[in-house]
């Protein structure tokens, strides 16, 4: 089995090329996770506490982003925006991909943030009020610590999705990990080995992220909290 693998080819051609792709992938994933996460928190909070018009607007935007394939969104950002009369926004592939990932992550994350905020029982807030705490104190010492823990599993899952969907950047010619693999194959015609190696790169990223998130969840876990509560 092992002698079928051409180690020289892997070491000389595949790994250096994929490492360059990985660099671009990470430069897409990490900022998209951070900025998209912040956008998701902002949107989620708006959808629960915002004025009626802002709630409606945010709900609609999230519904549209969640209802349309990311592929379509990326195509709109890259090929479609230059069509807009007068504005003629012409984004670089990398910028368009990053923007698409940020909006998409923000929309999905806001769902978890919203769910977590809605799941906090009214009684928790009442109890804070009854002790004479101010609105700000209630938000910072009761609502946020509880909501973070409720939202974490879903939000973590979303980061995993982002890692995988970052491969779509290739479609709008941003050459990241998948794109590098594709380019290399057009030179070497050895698809199975190259794609399998690229798959291992993604598996490594996803597995590492899963470990980190599980560790974080365990670290923040509170006995009996977050289980069978409505």
């Amino acid at each position: 089995m092992l002698e079928c693998i051409d180690f020289a080819f892997l070491a000389d051609r595949v790994i250096p090329a994929l490492n360059r792709g990985l660099d671009v992938s990470l430069r897409l994933i990490i900022p998209a996770a951070l900025i998209g996460g912040a956008l998701g928190v902002f949107t989620g909070v708006t959808r629960v506490f915002g004025p009626r018009w802002a709630r409606r607007l945010a709900d609609a935007a999230v519904a549209v982003i969640r209802g349309v394939p990311l592929t379509v969104q990326l195509m709109i950002l890259y090929f479609g925006l230059p069509n807009v009369p007068y504005l003629r926004i012409d984004l670089e592939p990398f910028t368009a991909a990053l923007a698409g990932f940020i909006f998409c992550t923000g929309a999905y994350q806001s769902e978890y943030v919203r769910g977590a905020l809605l799941s906090i029982r009214q009684g928790q807030i009442r109890a804070g009020q009854a002790l004479g705490m101010t609105k700000l104190q209630i938000i910072t010492s009761i609502v946020v610590p509880q909501a973070v823990r409720r939202a974490l599993p879903g939000c973590g899952n979303e980061v995993i999705y982002l890692i995988k969907y970052s491969s779509l950047a290739y479609i709008i010619t941003c050459i990241e990990l998948t794109g590098r693999a594709k380019t290399l194959i057009s030179q070497t015609y050895r698809p199975t080995e190259v794609y399998l190696t690229a798959a291992l790169y993604y598996l490594a990223m996803v597995t590492l992220a899963t470990w980190l998130l599980n560790w974080l969840e365990r670290k923040l876990a509170i006995p009996g909290f977050g289980k069978n509560n409505t």
């Binding site: 629960v48 506490f49 549209v64 209802g67 349309v68 394939p69 990311l70 592929t71 379509v72 969104q73 195509m75 709109i76 090929f79 479609g80 925006l81 230059p82 069509n83 807009v84 009369p85 769910g115 977590a116 905020l117 809605l118 799941s119 906090i120 029982r121 009214q122 009684g123 928790q124 807030i125 009020q129 609105k135 209630i138 938000i139 609502v143 995988k164 969907y165 970052s166 491969s167 779509l168 290739y170 479609i171 998948t178 693999a181 594709k182 194959i185 698809p191 199975t192 794609y195 399998l196 690229a198 798959a199 993604y202 598996l203 996803v206 597995t207 409505t230």
Partner: protein
């Protein structure tokens, strides 16, 4: 104004052509969902009830197909593995097969969760009546687990439908590929992609409505999926 009318005419003229792509998309997604179901259900049962080595193999399958991007899976199988084993499914067939293999991994986790959420007394009661384990699974566990799974399953449907748009990277003549083809000739990218987005939106909506109807039809009184949305709690809406 003229430009706007021109865009509108282009979209309108392209609709029949794109609609054929919608047909391909729907067939592909239906095929992938079915394959995912047929493969995912035994995987789920194996992951709960099978001996440890089998469970680990299933775990490996799930880990691989859930950890690798669908786009890369499409490339890997279409250009690589399918050729290696001498399988020629064509573009639509290959897309359908890869989406189905990936969906099997996701669906197995949905079914596994549902099976494990059933009280263990259900299985015991079946055994106490002298049923074999297979009979218990077939006629006691699965009828309940599948019903519980419908909401998550309809979510999987909408994810799969959206993922199917990636197949255009292979050249599969579905909605995106056809839209892109027209757009690159007419340069009406924006209106055409928005139209494509609307088509996806409509297909998602139609499918979810259908699945809701199914859920209502097979519902057993007093036996419902737990409400995971958190909407029912609704505590915070009354404000601080």
């Amino acid at each position: 104004m003229d430009a706007f009318l021109h865009s509108l005419t282009t979209v309108f003229n392209a609709l029949p052509y794109i609609a054929q792509g919608a047909f391909v998309t729907i067939v592909m997604v239906a095929g992938a969902l079915s394959l995912g179901f047929l493969l995912g259900l035994p995987l789920a049962v194996a992951q709960v009830y099978a001996p440890r080595p089998v469970r680990m193999l299933v775990g490996l399958y799930v880990w691989f197909f859930r950890g690798v991007p669908v786009l890369l899976l499409l490339f890997l199988f279409y250009f690589g593995l399918f050729n290696v084993i001498g399988l020629d499914l064509g573009m639509i067939g290959s897309s359908c097969a890869v989406l189905g293999l990936a969906s099997a991994a996701y669906q197995s986790q949905i079914f596994r969760g549902s099976i494990q959420s059933l009280p263990s007394g259900q299985f015991k009661a079946g055994r106490a009546l002298g049923m074999t384990d297979m009979q218990c699974i077939r006629s006691v566990v699965l009828p309940q687990a599948l019903r519980i799974s419908i909401p998550a399953w309809s979510n999987e449907y909408s994810i799969l439908l959206k993922d199917s748009a990636m197949c255009f990277a292979l050249g599969t003549p579905e909605i995106m590929a056809r839209t892109h083809f027209v757009a690159s000739r007419t340069y009406e990218y924006l209106p055409l992609y928005i139209a494509a987005g609307c088509i996806y939106f409509l297909i998602t909506l139609a499918g979810i409505t259908l699945l809701r109807r199914l859920e209502r039809r097979v519902r057993i009184p007093g036996c419902a999926a737990p409400d995971m949305t958190g909407d029912s709690a609704g505590g915070m809406q009354t404000g601080i």
